[in-house]
Structures are given as C-alpha cells and as structure tokens.
C-alpha cells in the first residue's frame, strides 16, 4: 500500500514537470515596439524649422556683407536676439554719447560677440543704421501684435512705421538695398498699404539679387496681391516659395495646398520638414492606437493620402531626391499594414543617393527592418542579416562616441525603458519585433535568446557603467540586519537616519530578454547557457559579444527555474556555482523578500523569519533535495512521513509567500492566501492575466496538499502524527484520531473548540 502511495506521488510529481507553461512559440515583447521611434528623415534632435534655412542663409549673407571671420552664431545672436536698446547703446558709444554704464555694457557686448566688435571697430555706421531701423520695425510690429493694442492711424506705432518707410525710401546705397526693401515691404504691409507694396515690388524687385531676402520680400508681395484680389499672382509667389499656409489662405485645404505646391515646385525646401512632421504624427498615433486600442481611422485616411502623393513624387523625374519620397511611401505603407509593398518601393529606390546623409542611413535601416519583418530575413539569409546588424552596431557606436567621451557621465544616457537614440532604437526594434519571433517560429530558441540578449544589452555594454548591473548599496553588514525579517516602522526610520542606501536594478530583471528567458523551461535556458560558453560560428561569436553573460546572473536564473520546476538536485547544481554575495545584487533581496521560512507550517497567520537568510535559494534547494532523499529512502516511516509534510510545505510556500525562491518579482496577480472574498478576487485576476502560471501554481499547491494527506497514513508514532496535525492547525484531526496523545491532552486544555471537535468525531463514528 505504502509503495503504491509513494509510486503515485512520484508519478504525479514527474507529470507536473510537463505541466509547466511553455511560451517559446508565441512570445511578444512586453510593450509596443512602435514606441521605438524609427521613421526619420532627420535625426531626432533636429528641430522642425520651416524658416531654418532662411535664418541660416540670412546670417551667411551678413557674413558676406561684413566679415567672413565672424562666426555665424555671433551674427545670429546679434541680429536676431539683440534689442533696439542694445544697438542704441552701441550707437551712443560710437558717437561718443555714452555714459559709464553704456560704455561698460558695449565693451562687454564686444567681448562676447564678434559681430558687434566688428561694427564698432570698423565704425560701420551703415550697418548700424540699418540694424537700428530693423529693430524699430521689429519691436513696433511686436507691439502691434499685442492683444492689448488698439489700432489707430494716428498712434505712435503708425507714426514710427511711416517714418521707417521714409527712411527706407531715402536709402541710396547698394550694400543693403535688399534689406531696406524688405523692411519697407514689411512696414507697408503692417500699414495695410497693399497697393504701395505692389508698386515698390514692381519698381525695385527686378533690381534685387535673388537671395534669401528676395524670397522673404516676395512672400509679402504675395500677401499684398491677395489682398488686392489678385489670387493668380499670389498663388504663383506662394508656390514658388513653398508657403503652404499662404496657399491655404487662398481657399485650398491643406492636402490640396500640399499637392499644388508639389506640382509647381517639386523640390521646395519646405517638403523635408513637412514630411517629417507628417511621419512623426502618424508614428505617434499608430503607436497610441495599438497601445491603447484607440481609433486610428482618421490617421489611416491621412496616411493613405500621403502614400499616394509620395509614390507619385518618387516616380516624378523632376524630383531631385526620389529616395526621400520613396522612404515616405515605404513608411506609410508600413503604417497601413502593407509592409511588403513598403519593402518593394524602398528596394526599388535605394540606388538613389540623397544629399541628406542621415536619410541614406535611415533608408537602409528601414529596409533591414521591413525585410526582417516580412521575409524572415534573419533565418532565411543569416549572413546578410548579420552584416546589416553589424553595420547598425557601428552606426550606434559612431552616434554615441562623442557623448561617451566623458566616462563619468555615461549613466545619464541610459533610459530604463526606452532609448532615445536612433540606431539603438533601430537595433532593438528589428530584433525584438521581428528577429526573435522569426527565430522562435523556426524552433531556434537559443538564437532567439541570443537576439534578445543583444537587443537589450548592446547599448548597456557600450555605456559600460557598473552601476547598471550593480546598483549602489551600503555595505552588506549595515544593510543585512534590516533585510533579515519583517521591517518595522522603527527600522525604516533608522535606515533613513543612518542614510542606508539601497538602489534597485532597473535593467537585468525587467528587460525583454529577461522576460523571454523567464517564460522558458530550465532545459532551454541551460542549452543557451552552454552554447554561449563556446560559440562556434562567427555569428554566434558576434551575438555573444553583444550580450550580457555574467555567470552568477545566468546560473542564478537556471537555479531559480529549477526550483520553480521542483527539480531540486538540478537547482543545487547551479545555485552552488553562484557566488554567495550575488543574492545581495538582486531586487528581491533588496526589497526585503528573502527572509521568510519556506518550511513554516502556517504562514497565512504569521510569517516566520528564517534563522540565516544567506544563500537563501541554495539552502532551500539543498533542504528540499535532502527531504526528497528521506521521503524516498528513509527506513523509518515516521521520518518519511515528516519529510513528505515538510517537502509539501516547501513546495507550497515557494510558490506563494516565499515566491522569492522561484520568481524575481511579486506581480500583482500573485495571491497570498488571504481570507474570503479578497482571496477569490486575487485568484481571479491571476487566472485572467497569467492563466498558465496560475494553473501551474494551483497544480503544485494541490499536489502538495495530496502529499500531506498521503503522509499521515505512514505515521506509526501517534505522538508524531498528532504533533504534525497540530502544527498544521488541523485540530479536529487530533480530536478524531489522537485525542489520547500528549498533543491531544494539551489541546483539550487550550483549544476552545476541542469539545465540538470531539463530539463531531463521535458522531462520525
């Protein structure tokens, strides 16, 4: 009989191993990879500035008109940021009318700005007169845009502008002819003298150089024509200058204005920034729709429209940068779920080289992404895939090299959940979203883990900052007393007072590689670990080099999984290779979760600290392996019975209150055997969000209960049996079966319900 019981139990335990949740074939990253922003015509930190080119060109023109030795930044600062008052001080200084304050101020300006220094040292009053006039116009127009301004023809603002027009008309020089023309045009426009705007243009326009100022003047003329009712001429100017908002003013909606601009000026400098703006908004909204289940319909329509426009533009022979348009067409295809078409159009146009170096690289990245996504590139053509990924690796290193030169500042470039660097995002997105699922589908879990490890650790390896893997903590002797049992409020206060530092590891136990590995069986993880110890092929060596292969980390993972699978001898094998102080690096230790006694009989009622929580997991594994031996091989049935009970308790507790033995985080789904309705609620959530895990743990729990039940018939010593029942709080059993033991007699004196149990037992008989 007892042999049959033992055989049945062993069989059940054996079967449990195959009830483990297996997730290899259907793994997904634990977040939307769309938030690894990928679609870029320009680098991330390039500001969208439709006038950016104009500002730059204007500063360059100033350089030509003054001195090419003056840095552009100084020109920009002086021309665009200095106020009228500051230039007035310069004028007063030049004409000898400055007081001490003004002299001091101007000398400081000269010291900081080469443009000002030039004006002063060269006594360039012509430039100074113009700058003063321009600043007057600027400040007056700003005042007129103030919501509190009430326009009145006779007010000071109008008088100033009329005076400016006279000054502009009086200028006879040639050096700043265009500049005065621009100021005159601006001023006449503000005075709503649109006829004079047109007259000025018709008289002066043909004599002006075709430079940045000419374009700016033309825009005002376009506005003047519009207000005169001459829409044709206005439209002609706006399209030539890429001014889509002004085209819209003529009654076109945005899309019609955009297409009209393309028709008239297919190489307008307006397009790159505008296309980037479109792509950014679609990328964000498609991410949001995926992440939050929001409605993406509106953006589908817009993306469809842009796709059509981009396809047409890419094929238009007038276009200088067909790659840019093909890239946009490819991106929009991808947004619309037609990634194969996106790959086709991109491949057809990759032979075009853009003048935008970043775009050339971005297009290559996108080709790799689409190819991996649609053609299983990494498993179908592994060598080419490897070459491409090595190229991305190199680009990432080049991108980061200037930033990482100061080794003391490297940690600030690590962002716990996502990267902000284009090539790092590309690297992760291609691997997490595409390559890993491809490898899993091909049945190569080892390769999938390699990809995941590289995805999550290449960048971290580049930062090479120990703090990421070993976050700071005060010396273990100071910390340990506070992590050896339940922490009281007084202990919290003490820790604060003594400034005891405990920081958490935000990377190793929460990245996507860890999430993948944590969902796999121990045997799979062992296979990976053994493979990376001796990589054979160039590809294996490369992925290994990109990875995080800390022995303690991996062996602890394997040992923990073995504990989870109730394979205690295997757990001992690996956990004994982990250095003793490794557990202090883990978040579960630092979070005060490694002190509960896994062999406690009734943790539901109070949690008992273990005597010594060093090597917490290894000690538990050794104890459980020892109990296995005893329950299978001890000649004393009472020892076997007690061992079975302790073993069962270890099984149950390691899946619940002492979860730190078998898991790395207590998710909100774990239920802790609390009373009544709350227990059911937690269990319901657990079953909803992690059904396989919930099922497994329930099975372990149930099997442990079966083991306990099976243990009691083995007792030959009633005293021991009674004691065990008592420790398990099964007092009614003592009353029923062992009332005449020492335990029974003690209970009869101390238990309020003893009499009820005795009566119930008698009724049963």
């Amino acid at each position: 009989m007892k042999l049959r019981i033992f055989t049945a139990i062993s069989g059940l335990l054996f079967c449990l191993l195959f009830a483990l949740p297996v997730a290899e074939a259907c793994w997904h990253p634990g977040f939307s990879t769309r938030e690894l922003w990928l679609y870029r015509i320009f680098p991330y930190d390039t500001p969208i500035d439709y006038n950016g080119d104009e500002t730059q060109s204007n500063c360059q023109l100033w350089q030509q008109q003054t001195s090419s030795d003056i840095p552009l930044e100084h020109v920009k600062s002086a021309v665009y940021q200095y106020s009228y008052q500051q230039w007035k001080w310069v004028e007063n200084y030049l004409i000898g009318k400055s007081d001490i304050f003004t002299t001091d101020t101007v000398r400081k300006l000269m010291g900081n700005n080469a443009f000002v220094k030039y004006i002063v040292l060269k006594n360039d009053t012509e430039a100074l007169d113009f700058l003063l006039l321009a600043k007057r116009v600027e400040e007056t127009r700003a005042a007129m845009r103030d919501p509190w301004y009430y326009p009145y023809e006779q007010d000071a603002e109008h008088a100033t502008l009329r005076e400016v027009v006279r000054q502009c008309e009086a200028y006879q020089g040639s050096r700043f002819k265009s500049r005065y023309a621009l100021q005159a045009m601006r001023t006449l426009f503000s005075l709503k003298q649109f006829d004079q705007c047109v007259q000025l243009w018709e008289s002066v326009g043909p004599t002006l150089s075709q430079d940045v100022l000419y374009g700016q003047i033309e825009n005002y003329v376009g506005g003047a024509y519009f207000r005169q009712g001459n829409k044709e001429k206005a439209l002609d100017i706006f399209t030539r200058n890429g001014d889509v908002p002004s085209i819209q003013m003529l009654g076109y909606n945005y899309q019609a204005a955009f297409e009209l601009l393309f028709e008239k000026n297919p190489n307008s400098s307006y397009f790159p920034d505008m296309l980037q703006t479109f792509i950014d908004s679609y990328e964000y909204h498609f991410w949001y729709a995926e992440a939050y289940g929001a409605d993406g319909d509106k953006y589908e329509k817009q993306a469809t429209w842009l796709n059509q426009v981009a396809l047409k533009a890419a094929a238009d022979p007038r276009v200088n940068d067909p790659l840019m348009w093909a890239y946009v067409a490819s991106c929009t295809y991808d947004f619309l779920g037609k990634s194969e078409d996106g790959l086709t159009i991109l491949q057809q146009n990759l032979h075009h080289v853009s003048s935008n170096d970043f775009l050339n690289n971005s297009a290559r990245v996108f080709r790799i992404y689409l190819q991996t996504k649609t053609t299983r590139y990494n498993t179908a053509e592994p060598d080419r895939f490897l070459t491409d990924m090595k190229w991305i690796d190199q680009q990432l290193k080049s991108e980061m090299a200037p930033l990482l030169s100061d080794t003391s500042q490297r940690l600030k470039y690590y962002h716990f959940s996502s990267s902000q660097y284009f090539f790092s995002n590309a690297w992760r997105r291609i691997l997490l979203e595409c390559a890993i699922p491809n490898a899993l589908a091909a049945g190569d879990t080892t390769l999938a883990i390699s990809y995941a490890n590289a995805a999550e650790n290449l960048f971290v390896n580049l930062l090479n900052d120990e703090e990421i893997h070993h976050p700071q903590m005060s010396p273990i002797e100071e910390v340990a007393p506070y992590l050896a049992g339940p922490r009281t409020d007084e202990q919290w206060a003490e820790m604060v007072e003594k400034n005891i530092q405990i920081h958490y590891n935000y990377h190793d136990y929460s990245n996507q590689m860890f999430n993948l590995v944590d969902s796999l069986q121990t045997s799979t993880i062992i296979r990976y670990w053994e493979a990376v110890q001796s990589p054979h092929t160039p590809a294996e060596r490369y992925w290994t080099q990109c990875s995080y292969l800390d022995a303690d980390y991996w062996q602890d993972i394997i040992g923990t999984h073995a504990l989870r699978e109730l394979n205690y001898p295997l757990a001992v094998t690996y956990l004994s290779k982990v250095s003793s102080d490794y557990q202090y690096r883990t978040n579960v230790y630092r979070d005060n979760c490694m002190w509960r006694n896994p062999f406690h009989y009734n943790p539901k009622y109070n949690l008992q600290p273990i005597d010594d929580n060093r090597d917490y997991k290894l000690t538990f594994a050794q104890d459980m392996a020892g109990l296995e031996q005893k329950m299978n091989h001890s000649s004393d049935p009472n020892v076997r019975a007690r061992s079975m009970i302790l073993y069962a308790l270890g099984m149950k507790n390691s899946m619940n209150w002492c979860w730190a033995l078998t898991y790395y985080s207590k998710t909100s789904y774990q239920w802790l055997w609390i009373d009544g309705e709350e227990e059911e609620e937690y269990k319901k959530y657990f079953e909803m969000y992690a059904p396989a895990e919930a099922k497994y743990r329930t099975q372990v729990w149930n099997q442990a209960d079966s083991l306990i039940q099976a243990a009691f018939p083995l007792f030959t010593d009633p005293e021991q049996a009674a004691m065990e029942y008592s420790k398990l709080a099964m007092v009614w059993k003592v009353a029923e079966l062992y009332p005449d033991t020492e335990t029974g007699r003690w209970l009869s004196r101390h238990c309020d319900q003893w009499e009820d149990y005795v009566k119930a037992a008698k009724r049963k008989k």
């Binding site: 400040e139 700003a142 005042a143 103030d146 919501p147 509190w148 301004y149 009430y150 009145y152 007010d155 000071a156 603002e157």
Partner: protein
C-alpha cells in the same frame, strides 16, 4: 507693447490731465437718464437715436470690450460704425470675467503685479479707444460678477485703476449685483450701479422669470446697509429673451431672435413656457421637438414694483441718483410705451 505702454500711459495721463483740467474734473454726479449700450457694434438705428433724444438720455455706458482668459486679454472689442454722440456723456465700460483672477497658486507679490498690470492695461486701452472716438471721459466702469474667492483680486485691480484715473480727474464706477449689497463699504470705487436684473438663476428650470422678480429682489433688500457708503445709480431691464431647455429640463442656451408667436413652431404651455413643436434652427442652433423655451420679458409692472421698493430705502438712494436702462435695443424698447419709459426714468 510693453515698450510703448509706459510712455503711452504718460501721454494719456498728460492728454486727459489737460482736458480734464479744463473740464470740471471729479465732480458730483448729476442725476440723469442713462442707458447701457452692450452690442459689439456701435451702429444705432434711427429709432434708437430717436429714443435717446425723446427721453433726454444724457449718459450712455458703452461696453468697449470684455476682458477674459488667463493671461488676460481684451475680447469682443466694439466696432464703431458710427461716431459716439458728443452731447451725451459716454462712460467707457468693460466687462471683466473671472478668468483673469483664477490663478490662486502665485505669491502675493506676483498677484499684486498681475493686478496692477491688468489695471494699467484696461485703463490705457479704454482711454485710448475714447481718444480715438474723440470723447471726453469723466468716468469709466468695470463690470464684474466677482465672487468671494476673486473679490480681493478684483478690488485690488479696482484700487490700482482708480488711483490712476483719479490723477486724470476721472472716476471709477463698478456694477453691483444684489447679492453683493452687503459689501458696499469695501468696494474701491467712486460709484456703483446696482443691477436690478438677472435676479434669478436663468439655468434653473423652475424659475419663472430670471430677468426680474420682485420677490427675488425683496430677499436681498434685507442686506441693505443702514448707511450707504457708496453712491449708487440703478439699472433696470428692458430686454427679453428665450431660455432654451431640452425635454429633460437641461439648460441649452439663450435665444434672442426667436419668434415665439409662431404657432406653427411653438405652443404655449404655462408660465411663459413654450414647447417646440418640430425640429428647426434658430440663430444657428438646432431646436428639437419637445424642447422648451421659457420666454422672459421685462414686465413694466414688475420693474416699477422693484423701483418703488428700492426708492423706499433711503439708505440706498443718494441725493443724486441716475436711472439706467439695460439696454439700447429698439426691438425691446419698443415694447414699452413712452409713458412707461418716462415713469421708469422718473426720479
């Protein structure tokens, strides 16, 4: 604007200082017939000009703009399609919403700066607009339905504005709602206008006439202080409007141009309420069958009842008080006979 504001304010001060030095400056107010102009376009009809003339209206409170938002800015600025009359005293008025005062979480000194700046901006703009319209200003008015939480900020703004205006010999008046009668002694203004209209919550379905109800006014009269420390004028309503509710009695809006006599669209129910008989649009808004319009008018008898009650409180009426009608709109004014208007104005 800031660069110009300071010098402009000085110019304004100089201009009005000179002008008012030749006028009578801050003087005791004459009791006259007055009226509010509250439309965003100043373009009175022939009939409205005739009304002003026939009733010897000598003072007109003209809304120049509202002040709204945070940061505060002028909105709904009046467009002058006709010149303001030179033979009627014009009082530039501004309606200030509570938005500019809602920023609680700033320091006291920041609030003071903000209120000072706001006062300056309002005064500067009102006076500039007056200058453009070529009128002599002896008084400006702030209209604000301040609450307990915005009282301090509004009063501080008034204080700053009044100080500036006094340098120019100009008075500051404010509008007073009935529920503010208990606070007269704290108001930093030279005069107040007690608004004897909008006496009940128009959004409340069970109210029968939110424009004016003697019973509603009566409740507030108990708060009248024994001694009135602020000279008051009194404003009475002459307008009418439709308060629009849906079939669940939820407030939807105010309608000014609804022809409630159209029996094909509206059916009288009771107490001034009409039911909408079929879906249609009014003033661009979609009315649905089953909606209710509570048509409210300024009843002459009710106005007189309130006027008599007010005038029976000696502490309320100063020796010289004006009667002001709200507002200059012939469609509404034509519903009163000439005698009725004369009786309302009589004081």
């Amino acid at each position: 604007m800031k660069r110009y504001q300071g010098p402009f304010l000085c110019l304004i001060l100089l201009f009005f200082g000179i002008v008012n030095a030749y006028s009578q400056g801050r003087e005791e107010k004459e009791a006259v017939n007055a009226i509010y102009h509250w439309k965003t376009t100043f373009n009175p009809s022939k009939e409205e000009w005739k009304f002003l003339n026939d009733n010897a209206v000598k003072r007109m409170y003209v809304r120049f703009f509202d002040v709204d938002n945070d940061p505060a800015e002028p909105v709904a600025t009046t467009i002058f399609k006709q010149n303001l009359p030179q033979d009627i005293e014009i009082i530039p008025t501004t309606f200030i919403t509570l938005e500019p005062f809602w920023y609680y979480w700033i320091s006291d000194s920041a609030r003071e700066c903000r209120n000072h700046d706001l006062a300056n901006k309002i005064v500067t703009r009102l006076l500039k607009m007056a200058q453009v319209q070529n009128i002599v200003v002896k008084e400006v008015q702030f209209d604000c339905d301040w609450t307990a939480s915005t009282e301090d900020d509004f009063f501080q703004t008034c204080t700053f504005a009044r100080d500036t205006l006094h340098m120019l010999g100009i008075d500051l008046s404010v509008t007073i709602r009935l529920h503010q009668l208990g606070m007269l002694k704290n108001i930093p203004a030279d005069r107040g206008v007690l608004m004897l209209y909008n006496t009940s919550n128009l959004k409340n379905y069970s109210v029968s006439n939110s424009i004016l109800s003697y019973n509603a006014v009566k409740q507030y009269l108990s708060r009248v202080p024994k001694e009135c420390v602020l000279d008051l004028d009194f404003a009475y309503p002459t307008y009418s409007w439709g308060i629009w509710f849906n079939s669940w009695q939820d407030f939807n809006g105010i309608l000014h141009k609804v022809d409630i006599t159209n029996s094909a669209l509206y059916q009288w129910k009771q107490d001034g309420c009409y039911e909408v008989l079929k879906d249609h649009k009014v003033e661009g808004r979609q009315l649905e069958k089953g909606d209710i319009i509570r048509w409210e008018v300024s009843e002459y008898e009710e106005v007189m009842k309130v006027k008599n009650a007010i005038e029976s409180y000696p502490s309320l009426k100063g020796s010289r008080y004006s009667v002001i009608l709200y507002h200059l709109d012939f469609n509404n004014l034509s519903k009163f006979s000439q005698d009725e208007i004369k009786n309302i104005y009589r004081h």
